[in-house]
């Protein structure tokens, strides 16, 4: 005979389970009855000791008890879990700081360059970068900018101090000789020399964007820097028209500054494009009404552009009658300043952590 009174057990489980109000207590309860050495196991173990005709009835009783306890545990579990979770969330002070490692930031200029390049890549342009040390030919004469002409005045340029006899042997990083034909070495004053490099090495169709650093000896103030960034782009094929230039640049400007902006293309002069256009967008601050950012004009100039000058094609050995193309260039700092409301170009190069962390 087992020394456990199965009916007494039956009677006490209800009272016991009623008092349980935590998961560990429920687990103790489960082990006490259903564990490997628990009461149900003991009862089961005692079955062989019974006289045969009692075994079946007792076995059924034990089984019923086991199922009952299991279902009680299962039910209790449901009631316990929910209130516990609530108690847990209620117990955390969500005013305390969250725990995570901060991410770093890409420089705002990198973010703007990446954004603009991504827009052009979606339109099928590829990205090319060129060297920052350039020849006079690629920076000026190849682009139809005569060395001694007022049209060069906007391109004040840093020259490199290299012994003249050595210049003739110098090679740039693409292996181009800097000699009498290509002129002295300088820091590129715009990204346009990459037009020359790409066109000299590849045949149309071309759709290329060129981001990069450029240099001009300007005294540093809130709107001038001797180093800044440009993004150049050009497309050359048979039958590229001025209307295509307008279409592509409109997509760009709307993608960067929003669909609602207005645009205008104004005739201008650049030696390496003809016809040339400056591109304005309606002021993103005042929406065209006129404010201090747009100088009360309601328009912001963001781009220079035009159809590639036949002389540039001639200089790279393309037949000007065979191909047409457009080119454009923009100052990245200017775009970033407009986009983020930055009013001093020097902030980009001071790299104050409090500045960088905002982008």
């Amino acid at each position: 005979m087992p020394n456990i009174d199965i009916d007494a057990v039956k009677a006490q489980i209800d009272a016991e389970i009623e008092k349980i109000n935590s998961a560990p207590a429920l687990e103790d309860f489960r082990i006490k009855y259903l564990g490997r050495k628990g009461i149900v196991a003991q009862l089961t173990a005692s079955i062989p000791n019974l006289i045969p005709h009692e075994r079946q009835a007792f076995g059924q009783k034990v089984n019923t008890l086991k199922n009952r306890i299991a279902s009680l545990v299962e039910e209790k579990q449901k009631t316990l879990v929910e209130p516990e979770r609530q108690a847990g969330a209620g117990g955390v002070d969500m005013g305390m700081p969250g725990i995570a490692q901060d991410l770093g930031r890409l420089h705002p200029l990198t973010q703007v360059i990446d954004e603009i390049c991504a827009i052009f890549m979606r339109m099928g342009f590829s990205i090319v970068e060129g060297p920052e040390i350039e020849t006079e030919h690629n920076n000026f004469t190849g682009l139809n900018i005569p060395l001694e002409h007022p049209s060069r005045d906007v391109f004040d340029t840093f020259y490199l101090k290299l012994a003249s006899e050595r210049v003739s042997q110098l090679t740039g990083s693409t292996g181009k000789l800097a000699n009498r034909q290509t002129g002295k070495l300088l820091l590129r004053s715009h990204t346009s020399p990459v037009q020359i490099r790409v066109m000299q090495s590849r045949k149309p169709p071309l759709a290329v964007v060129v981001p990069g650093r450029v240099y001009r000896p300007d005294a540093v103030d809130a709107s001038h820097s001797f180093m800044f960034h440009q993004i150049e782009g050009f497309m050359v094929d048979k039958n590229i028209a001025f209307s295509d230039l307008k279409g592509v640049l409109t997509i760009l400007a709307k993608a960067v500054f929003g669909k609602e902006i207005k645009m205008r293309f104004r005739p201008h002069f650049f030696p390496f494009t003809e016809p040339s256009a400056e591109v304005d967008i309606s002021c993103i601050i005042c929406k065209g009404k006129g404010c201090s950012v747009c100088g009360r004009k309601g328009w912001l100039e963001i781009l220079g552009s035009g159809m590639i000058h036949p002389n540039v094609f001639k200089n790279v050995g393309y037949g000007p009658k065979k191909y047409t193309g457009f080119a454009f260039g923009m100052g990245v700092e200017r775009i970033a300043m407009l986009k983020y409301g930055i009013n001093d170009i020097r902030l980009f190069f001071e790299n104050d952590m409090r500045f960088l962390k905002q982008f």
């Binding site: 770093g104 990205i127 180093m227 279409g247 790299n351």
Partner: protein
């Protein structure tokens, strides 16, 4: 360039308001950058592009106004009443290339005095100070016609030999001699050389020249500024009026050499229309007669030529093709006519277009297309998208750089962009020694732009110093940019990664604040993750002296970790802080990158892991310990790594504690404890024997 509304109205009828005119001019390529109402007139400030010298005059702009508003230019006629050709003037031009045309008039009997109010007011509206009637007339004609004039006091054109004015007067246009001097009307003495073109006056050589004597002296810097000695003053009676054309490049070089820019040089540098020389000179003579009572008694010209007619062919359908909009032939013709171009049908679909002489910018067919587009209005050209063939060209290097930047940002680093130009002294200050020669800048504006940097580290140190100054406690920055050097007659640009860590990173964890001081191991951790992401397995760190650790990818040294010493830091005004720097040549490193990923099958059988905590003498390198464990563990030992370390009170001084995790696994079966336990015991034995390690 400034013009006023009323001044323009002298030459063209304007029916639209100033603001509307400004808008029209802007959209035609004459950008009005400011419009101001003053003194009953409106001042237009216009940006004139370098290709349009013909716009540098009121008449030039009036011509454009006429074209865009559909009016005709009011014809300007001058009737010089005293057409005197005299032997009183001899003009000698040393080199016709420097001065293709020189004209001069002698005007006698002027009465110098203040200008009438309308004249002085008009000049003042465009920012030109009124001086006296004669000078004001030359300026007024300059602004109206775009042809710079100069008035000399004839009686001060003294011959050095004679000591008084000599008739006939000889005017010489020549290069200055080395060492010659002139005091210009701004009162500054200018030292001249043969780059500078001057106007000189002298004795007529046919009358009194002596050998080896200077027979003339400079009286003006040609096309730039007149001399003080010969300027018109209150007592001037007789005038020599100059109107000329000088070579743009000669004037440009001269003014660059002298650092002296003027309204005259600005226009000569851009080119003068020969036709305006005669008309401007005549108009000035007429005004001098009207306003100062002077009579023109003599005039002489040298170099006058008939203008060459310039004619271009224009493919009519090409216009529409280039612009992407269909412009009818009649429209093309009327646009060109409005700009004074003469259009004739030359062949089928072709116009022959005669270009006005003043339009030095129109030389190719495409220049005509621009004129048509400009007047047709850019805004009327539609927006289309080019039918470009699809391409998926990739830029591997740029993609790698973007990948690296993203990984570094994920590791909490902030990207900086610093100047590529630095002061040479920063290299010494940063104790940076390089075998390659830095590249100097020929024309820096300041010392801080002396050289192209051969390293990123000095710039990063400056950046750290700047942020410390702004009371930032933790600075973790990186930059990816070119560095520059020259070697063996070669200039090199090398894409380089620089990282700087300084200060303590505050980590707010569940257990509270932990301040994590930056160290070499943080740089190592960053690189390990970077190398792992880039598939670079074979890399090493090798100490290179006390403050520098070399980084190797394969056999190649790709960069180094550095800790600048105190004196160097102090040069950058970094006090009581350690800075840890890293510089890696990405160009060298890229060859060790392998972005190809291959799945390593996940382990089928469970591993057994055993941790050992060892107390070791501090000097024993961790690498040796790990090496010894690997050597002893045998093929079943798959992974050995340090999972904890400790230095402090709990262990004897001069010692450190390492906890090493050893993972045993087989690819063929589930390992049992009885297999692993003896292996691990042997490892422990080896460590105790080899390093005298204590097991904790």
């Amino acid at each position: 360039m400034k013009v006023t509304y009323n001044w323009l109205k002298d030459f063209v009828e304007i029916k639209i308001a100033p603001a509307a005119l400004a808008e029209k001019l802007t959209m035609a390529g004459l950008e009005v950058t400011a419009l101001e109402e003053r003194g009953g007139d409106f001042i237009f400030e216009i940006e004139v592009t370098a290709n349009r010298p013909d716009y540098l005059s009121v008449i030039g702009i009036a011509r454009e106004v006429a074209a865009i508003t559909g009016r005709k230019l009011k014809i300007v006629t001058t009737s010089p009443r005293h057409h005197v050709t005299s032997k009183a003037l001899i003009i000698e031009i040393e080199d016709k290339k420097d001065c293709p045309l020189y004209t001069a008039k002698i005007i006698n009997g002027v009465k110098v005095g203040p200008s009438p109010e309308w004249l002085s007011k008009r000049l003042e509206l465009v920012g030109c100070r009124s001086v006296n009637n004669i000078v004001d007339i030359t300026n007024y004609i300059l602004f109206t016609y775009g042809e710079p004039l100069h008035a000399f006091d004839l009686d001060k054109l003294v011959s050095p030999l004679a000591g008084y004015p000599v008739i006939p007067l000889e005017i010489i246009v020549r290069r200055a001699r080395q060492g010659e001097k002139i005091i210009t009307i701004d009162g500054i003495e200018r030292l001249l050389d043969e780059n500078i073109l001057v106007i000189a006056s002298g004795l007529n050589r046919r009358t009194g020249e002596q050998a080896n004597r200077r027979t003339d002296m400079p009286i003006a810097l040609a096309g730039i500024m007149g001399g003080q000695d010969t300027e018109v003053s209150a007592v001037t009676k007789n005038i020599l009026l100059e109107a000329a054309i000088f070579n743009p490049v000669t004037i440009r070089r001269g003014r660059q050499k002298l650092g002296l820019q003027s309204e005259s040089s600005y226009r000569f540098e851009r080119g003068i229309d020969a036709a305006s020389v005669t008309s401007a000179s005549a108009a000035a003579a007429e005004m001098m007669q009207e306003l100062a009572g002077g009579i023109c008694v003599a005039q002489e010209a040298s170099g006058l030529q008939k203008p060459v007619k310039k004619s271009l062919r224009l493919d009519i359908s090409g216009v529409s093709q280039t612009l992407g909009v269909n412009i009818p032939a009649a429209k093309i013709k009327s646009i060109l006519n409005s700009l004074d171009f003469k259009v004739k049908a030359a062949a089928k679909n072709t116009f022959s277009v005669e270009v006005p002489a003043r339009r030095s910018d129109v030389n190719l067919e495409i220049d005509l297309v621009e004129e048509i587009a400009r007047i047709y209005a850019y805004g009327s050209i539609p927006e289309t998208l080019p039918a470009a063939p699809l391409q998926a060209a990739r830029n591997g290097e740029r993609e790698l750089v973007a990948f690296i930047k993203e990984a570094l940002v994920g590791l909490g680093l902030n990207e900086v962009i610093t100047y590529s130009l630095i002061a040479e002294s920063w290299l010494n200050d940063a104790a940076f020694a390089s075998a390659a020669e830095p590249i100097a800048i020929l024309n820096p504006l300041s010392k801080e732009q002396e050289i192209l940097r051969p390293a990123l580290l000095p710039s990063l140190l400056r950046c750290v110093a700047y942020n410390l100054n702004q009371k930032q406690n933790y600075i973790n920055i990186f930059e990816i940019a070119k560095i520059f050097s020259r070697a063996n007659g070669q200039v090199n640009e090398e894409l380089t990664l620089g990282i700087a860590l300084c200060g303590a990173k505050p980590l707010l964890l569940r257990g509270g604040l932990v301040r994590e001081e930056a160290s070499f191991l943080h740089l190592k951790g960053i690189l390990e993750i970077l190398f792992e992401r880039l598939g670079t397995r074979d890399y090493q760190f090798k100490a290179d002296g006390a403050a520098q650790i070399g980084v190797f990818a394969g056999q190649q040294r790709v960069g180094s970790l550095r800790q600048p010493q105190k004196p160097a830091l102090e040069k950058f005004e970094i006090k009581n802080k350690d800075v840890f720097l890293l510089e890696i040549s990405l160009e060298k490193f890229f060859s060790a990158v392998n972005l190809q990923k291959r799945l390593v099958p996940l382990a089928v059988y469970p591993a057994i892991s055993r941790d050992i905590s060892l107390v070791l003498q501090e000097g024993i390198p961790a690498e040796d310990v790990l090496g010894a464990i690997k050597a002893q563990g045998g093929p079943l030992l798959r992974e050995v790594k340090i999972i904890d370390y400790y230095k402090g009170k709990q262990i004897p001084s001069g010692h450190k504690s390492l906890t090493v995790s050893c993972v045993y696994r087989s690819d063929e079966r589930t390992l049992t404890e009885t297999e692993v336990n003896p292996l691990q015991a042997a490892v422990v034995d080896a460590l105790t024997q080899k390093f005298n390690a204590q097991i904790r």
